[in-house]
Subunit: 145 residues, 2 copies
């Protein structure tokens, strides 16, 4: 395989795994979510506005709690940018989030926006999530000069 097509394949694989991460969240599929993470005590997860969590046990517990409390969530990812640096890949994306809770009236949804940095590590068979850092967007900076 040429270097260029290897890179193209890496980028496509990483974007796919990144999509699977959000799909697992949407389905409330804790097994799939756990599978996506690297099995390493140094994995890192920062939910929007929250303190960092480290390691599979803490991170899995946080997803179980979130999934139990969010009956409906849907992500529309925009501005997805993937970079591969040898065996580590970073994805940044804007998470446009649509949620409904038990308290929400039917047909009523809440929208929110966050920015995420997801760092994946290449393993033997696929890419695994090493770092997820999501943060609320407060100010919008335009940088299009």
């Amino acid at each position: 395989m040429t270097e260029r097509s290897q890179l193209a394949q890496d980028l496509a694989e990483v974007e796919q795994v990144n999509g699977e991460f959000y799909a697992a969240f949407e389905r409330g599929d804790l097994d799939a979510m756990t599978e996506i993470w690297l099995d390493d005590p140094n994995t890192l997860c920062i939910h929007p506005g929250a303190e960092p969590l480290r390691g599979a046990a803490s991170i899995t517990r946080s997803w179980a709690l979130i999934m139990a409390n969010v009956p409906y969530i849907q992500f529309f990812l925009t501005d997805v940018q993937v970079t591969v640096h040898e065996d580590v890949a970073s994805v940044t994306c804007t998470e446009n989030v649509l949620t409904a809770t038990e308290q929400t009236a039917q047909d009523s949804f809440t929208g929110a926006k966050a920015i995420a940095t997801n760092v994946f590590v290449r393993t033997e068979d696929t890419w695994r999530l090493w770092i997820h850092h999501a943060s609320p967007v407060i100010s919008v900076e335009h940088d299009e000069d």
Copy 2:
């Protein structure tokens, strides 16, 4: 060098460069700040609450603006955790920030807290910053059960 002492050296070097990043910000030293970043179009900088910036030109411009508008800033880093994965290292830390602006009365400071993920890449002579993602802390989650 044994594998263990190589890792210890890597961890120490990364923590040092991470400290230099904040020191450059505190001194308002744009040259030092620019030097710390990897020279790559895919570098990524997310200031607290802001949209992602990519590449040296955008990132340097943002630091120039921030430095011009913040006459005094001091960082007290806590909960610094460094992880090395081959040629990529991640640092998470809590940025306890003390700032003063032109408008602030003398001897009056504002405190703030953010969580940062900094990802560094090993280069020939040192580690360079690839990703800086800082986000405001809104809720405090205790996870000490």
